[in-house]
Structures are given as C-alpha cells and as structure tokens.
C-alpha cells in the first residue's frame, strides 16, 4: 500500500502545494504549525477539495482533477484521528465506537468490536459520555472508532498534542502497536521532533 499525493490548494491568501509518496508503516509529515499539514490530511480524507492535483492510495484513485475524479469522504475508506479526539458529544463511547463499524460492509471490517476494546483497554469506558473522559481516554476511543470503521489506512493529526507527559507516552505506545501489530499504513502529522523520531518509519518535511 502506498500513498501518492500531488496537490495544490489555495487557503486564504496562501498557496499550498504538497507532493510526496509514502509506503507502508508510519509516515510522518513533519513541519511547523501553520504549514498546512492538516489541510493535506483533509484533502486525502475528502474533507477539503484540492484546486488541482492527484491523490492515490494503493491502487485506488481518490482524487484526480485531470480526470474529474473526486471520491466522496464516505467512499474513501480512511480512518481519521483528529487532534482533539472529536467524539460525537451526544453519543456514548460504545455508540461512538460502533458508528463507523455499523456503516462498514461486513467484508471490510477487519477488527471486531471486542478485539478493539481490549486492544485499547477501554472496556470500562463503554457506557460513559464523551464529556466525562480525560484527554487520553478520549483519544483512545477516537483511535478505536477509526479502526472499527474498517479503514485501509489511518490519518492522524497531532493526536498527542492535547495530552500531558504520561498520557502522551501511553497513546504513543498504542500507536506503535497499531503500526506493528495491526499493520495499517499511517500518515501522521506532527510538529514535535521527538514524537516523529520515535514513531515514524519515514519522515517527510513540510515547509512553510
């Protein structure tokens, strides 16, 4: 599985251009805040349309302005883990986890609910509402929700940035296990060098 990204988009008064290829493992997009790293993930997820360019993941073309291809986000089969967890505030943890799982056709699910829950150690949180969770707990649930939707690859947007020291380490270990044990390709955005050095198999510099 590989990512091939070559896109251009205008954000406000800035022209953002991204061109890279990445293969299996964890690929880090590393660069300062405001460089447009989140925009790159949004374009791959289909939440932001590039002005022009091409995005391919594995064999599949997600976006190609030349050929008029722009797959809708729900057809792209990606698991997106956001900076702030971004859990559905009106649904319990269990319902958050099952949101994507229920929508995925059975043959696309590669992780079962119970397996995900024990993998992430969130069994005791299932009946809780998101606002009662700590940052670390919320981020584990968010990772579980993304994995359960049966994604072919994961996008992670600074998933550690809202966490303190111990929690960071805990979530970093979870991400390492997702990378090694579940072998899902991960595109990981960060501005923290130590984080990237520890987690990434490939580093791509994003410049301002």
């Amino acid at each position: 599985m590989s990512f091939e990204v070559d896109v251009e988009v205008r954000r406000g008064d800035r022209q953002l251009r991204a061109r890279f290829a990445a293969s299996a493992g964890l690929t880090a997009l590393f660069g300062p805040s405001g460089a447009g790293k989140t925009s790159i993930l949004d374009m791959i997820a289909g939440l932001l349309a590039p002005d022009r360019g091409r995005i391919a993941v594995g064999e599949e073309l997600l976006f190609d302005s030349a050929r008029g291809i722009n797959l809708r986000p729900e057809k792209r089969n990606c698991g997106y883990v956001f900076q702030d967890g971004r859990l559905f505030p009106h649904r319990r943890v269990r319902e958050n986890l099952l949101f994507g799982w229920k929508l995925a056709p059975p043959e696309r699910r590669w992780l079962e609910f119970d397996a995900a829950v024990s993998f992430l150690g969130i069994g005791h949180l299932l009946e809780r509402m998101p606002y009662t969770l700590s940052g670390g707990e919320a981020q584990r649930v968010a990772i579980g929700r993304a994995l359960l939707s049966g994604p072919r690859f994961l996008l992670m947007d600074e998933p550690l940035s809202s966490l303190d020291g111990t929690r960071r380490d805990e979530i970093m270990r979870v991400i390492e296990r997702v990378r090694d044990e579940l072998s899902v390709p991960i595109l990981y955005v960060s501005h923290d060098r130590s984080e990237v050095q520890r987690l990434a198999s490939t580093v791509i510099d994003v410049e301002y």
Binding site: R72, E74, P89, H90, S149
Partner: protein, 236 residues
Amino acid sequence: MKLAALLTPEEIAIVALSLKVSSVAIGVVLPVAFGLAWILARTRFAGKLLLDALIHLPLVLPPVVTGWLLLLAFGKSGPAGRLISELFGATLIFRWTGAAVAASVMALPLMVRAIRLSLENVDTRLEGVARTLGAGPWRTFFSVTLPLAMPGVLAAIVLGFARSIGEFGATITFVSNIPGETRTLPLAIYTSLQVPGGEGAVTRLALISVALSLVALAVSEWLVRRAGRRGGNHVL
C-alpha cells in the same frame, strides 16, 4: 377537579379549537422554519439579507398589517387564494385553516431564529468525522446535525406554540372572529370583554391561557434539560 365543571361546553370548544389551530400551525411551519434556518445558517448567497428581512417581517410589523397582507395574498383575487381555490376548491378566509396560516406566519420568525442559533452552534467538523466514518450526507444529517440541533428545534416548537396560542391581530384581520371556526382563546377573551357580564368567562379563559403557557414553558425546560444531559446546547 374536572375541567368540565370549571368551563362551559363553549369554552371547552374554544380551548380545543385553539389547540387545534396552534398544533396544525406548528406542525406545518416547523419543516419550513428548519429549511429556512438551514439556509440562513449554512449557505451564502446574494439575496440572503433580503430573505432574512422577509422572514423577520411578521415580528416587526403590526400584526394587523400582517393580517391584511395575508388577506391580500389569500383572498379570492389574491395569488395564493386563487391557487388554493384551483387546487382544493376551498378558501382559507373565515376558516380555522386560515387561522392556522396566520398563526404559522406569526410564529415563523421566532422559530427560524431559535433553530438557526442551534444550527450555528453545531460543530460542522463533527459532520466531517461522520463522513470519514462512512456516513453519507443524509445519514450525517440525521445522526449528527439534527440531534445536536435538537435543543433549538424544541425551543422553536415551544416558542412557536406560545406565539400561536396568543395570536390575535393577524387572525382577526385575516379570518375574522367566527364562533366555532376562528374564535381562538384571545379572540374569545376579547369578545367576552365586549359583552356585559362576561367577566367570569374572561377570567376563566385568561386562566386557561396562563396555564397553557406555563405548561409549554415547563415542557420546554424539561426537554432542554434532557437534551443538556445528553450533551446538547441550551438555547432557551
């Protein structure tokens, strides 16, 4: 304590008519109000300010003027009146359905405001999350947007209901004051005031109005609290 012992059969009929007019009005206008609130909250287009002003017109116009405008539109020679007469062979003038139209129009601005406010408070990024998890636009709407906007929708229903129960000026101008057809609570209170010895009826009907309003307020408070527990936002 039975209601029948406190009110005369005519008064019970008046309360029932008021409830019927208001319920139908809110039921019909709610989807319209939601659609308009959506347009105002989520889209940008050239005539948006004009649409906004048009929706708010019944809030700032004297109700009698709104009633007169409705009369022009829905009267025998009015454009809406002719259309309805062609389609259904009926007229809204002097009918309870006309009273419901008046109530809808008067309730619309309040309802649009409440729903728009709650829609603007919905984090659109959560809709993006739902999309990446495999939900199409409609499923995203029904499983994320609508539940999160629900406190505003409930507030709109209560505000609209209270507004239509109390509607007077537009109703009496548009559909007159016909017993059993368009004489709702406020019109009945007004009529009783004109009649010597009607004070008893006025008191009873006024008390019913107060009670209805308080019940509506209590229901809304309960609904908002319930929504609040589920993580929604307060609107009222």
